[in-house]
């Protein structure tokens, strides 16, 4: 019962955020200069096909009716028809979504796996040279334009050293285990690019929260009890410092997805980001609208899941 009370508000919040994203999109399309019909139907379509789509979205109706119809269509996953491929936008995007999920999830995992130990290292050597070096790396990483680091890695490891493939997501001539291996090899460079720009936030948050935790009374008590420093650091202080770092994942998800759009473009990775790039070139507005909404939903759902899973791990949530 108490678990239900914990999960329900978070589910509600997620649904509310998705509603907000859809509403913002609807309002922007109607309020901005330009034809809102462009977001669902191409001017190059036949008259009847275009008219049918416009009626479906109620673009000849008053605004409030349009809003209701828009919501209804979005609920059914109907994001319009792609200008260039003449297939429902949802079909185009769902094909690409798994690749984006794979890339962002991998990047997130390696960022956390590298970022937390680096942050702990910096905090335990506070003020020393190693601490300064780690901080400088963190700040620099945050200042890099994703495509810059992507092209650099591509140039060094792809073109010069020829260790890793320079683009795409898999080898077309590989089957079975070879295919999975090729997917992994294609994933390395884009995931590392995304990790490098994200790392700084995790390292610096981990560092400052851990430094704060190390100043707490329970740490002093543990020291007074003669516990070894390593044990205090990794067992007592780190556990408490992990909390803000976990919240950071949620805060950074939107940013991570933005980075993925740019990274996929550099590496010709067949995810939603690359789809956005192609849609921009062809001015395929329905795809752009659908891509934003689908990414927004993905981010919200991922955030919700992290939140709920985390809640079950935190003993304080269980008891309250």
């Amino acid at each position: 019962m108490s678990r239900l009370f914990f999960v329900l508000p978070r589910l509600g919040r997620g649904v509310f955020t998705i509603w907000f994203a859809v509403t913002v999109t609807f309002l922007l399309l109607r309020l901005l200069p330009g034809d809102p019909a462009l977001a669902v139907a191409s001017p190059n379509m036949t008259e009847e096909a275009r008219a049918a789509l416009l009626t479906q979205y109620g673009l000849d109706q008053p605004l409030i009716v349009q809003y209701g119809l828009y919501m209804w269509q979005m609920l059914q996953g109907n994001f319009g028809v792609s200008f260039t491929q003449s297939v429902p936008v949802m079909d185009v995007l769902l094909q690409r979504l798994p690749w984006t999920l794979l890339l962002t999830f991998t990047a997130l995992v390696i960022t956390v796996l590298v970022g937390i130990p680096l942050g702990v290292l910096a905090a335990s050597r506070r003020g020393k040279v190693l601490d300064k070096i780690i901080q400088v790396i963190g700040v620099t990483g945050q200042s890099i334009f994703v495509p810059s680091i992507g092209v650099l890695l591509l140039f060094v490891f792809g073109l010069s050293l020829k260790w890793l493939p320079i683009g795409g997501a898999y080898d077309t001539d590989a089957y079975g285990m070879d295919w999975y291996a090729s997917v992994a090899r294609h994933l390395v460079l884009p995931a590392v690019s995304l990790m490098l720009i994200q790392l700084g936030s995790y390292v610096l948050t981990m560092r400052s929260t851990l430094i704060e935790a190390l100043g707490e009374d329970y740490v002093t008590l543990a020291k007074a009890n003669g516990l070894p420093y390593r044990r205090i650091l990794w067992k007592h202080a780190l556990r408490n410092a992990l909390l803000p770092t976990t919240t950071l994942i949620g805060l950074q998800l939107g940013f991570l997805v933005g980075g993925a759009v740019l990274t996929e473009t550099v590496f010709a990775y067949p995810g939603i980001g690359r789809g956005i790039y192609e849609a921009v070139t062809q001015l395929d507005f329905p795809v752009l609208q659908g891509a934003f909404l689908l990414l927004a939903i993905t981010v919200v759902v991922a955030n919700m899941l992290t939140d709920i899973v985390y809640g079950f791990l935190d003993p304080r949530v269980k008891t309250s």
Binding site: T17, F20, A21, T25, L32, P33, G34, L38, A39, G127, Q135, G138, V139, T140, Q142, S143, I144, F145, P147, S148, V151, F155, G158, L159, I166, S201, L204, T205, S208, T209, I211, E212, P244, T247, L248, L251, Q252, L253, G254, F255, V257, G258, V261, L262, T265, V266, I276, Y277, A279, V280, F285, L288, Q289, A291, F292, L295, A296, V299, V300, N303
Partner: protein, 307 residues
Amino acid sequence: MTSLDPLNATPTGLPVSSEALSAEPVAESGRAGAATWRVFRRDPLGVISLGLLLLLVVVALAAPLLASYPASYGSDVLKPPSLQYLFGTDSLGRDVLGEVIWGTQQSLLVAVAASIIAIAIGTLVAVIGAYFKRLDVFISVIVDLTLSLPVLPLMILIAALIGPSTTTIIGVVAAFSWPEVTRLVRSQALTVVNLPYVDAARLMTTSPVWIIGRHIIPAVTPVIVVSVVVTASRAVLSAAGLAFLGLGDPTTWSWGRILYEAQQSGAMSSAWWLTLFPSIAILLLVLSATLLSIAYNDARNPRNRAR
């Protein structure tokens, strides 16, 4: 203690740690400003960053003197850097050095304009929310919701619909940067409105405009200064991102456009100079802005002045 901790107040989008912005919520007087400057002067990283930023501003302003506008096509196509072309040439034979110099102008213009708009809206919304508690719930919900969405795809959709131009980019970047400013300024403003002198001001006048303008905004000015720098550097990255995807102003050079054209012509990976120089320019601008805000935060903190 010149630690980089105050970075928590910067682009990472984190809750501000107690160490970062807890220092004096009261406005800086002229004397405090001078003291800040004295401490700042001794921080080599801060001084170098300030110098670099000023250099970029000079390059932007003096662009017409430094290089002719790279418009005409040349016969020297994709030449690596040489004495004649210090940064090499692109796939249409244009001088990359000239493109980077003119790109500085565009990038700084977008950064400054977008951050001024975002700061104005963001600060106003934040102090109004902090002062009128009823609006605060509504405002913080909007801010939280916007910050949890992937903003770049939304910017892309709008920029594509309106059509790419410098005004569009400034507007789009500003429109999605203010919530971050609001979040930063709001946390500071909330502590200020509860201070005794604001209560005293409430007894003196009934005009919230006066109290907000005279007492609350000056008190949050340090946070605003930090977020100007942070927002501007984020704006550079967002604008470069839009331009890189082909949504930059096609009539003006920007660093993102150089990268976009390199990508389009397929020369991105072979002609390293096409990506290296604009990338360095972006890195220098964003990094020095970030370091400057850290140095300013450190210098402002009275705990560091005692030395």
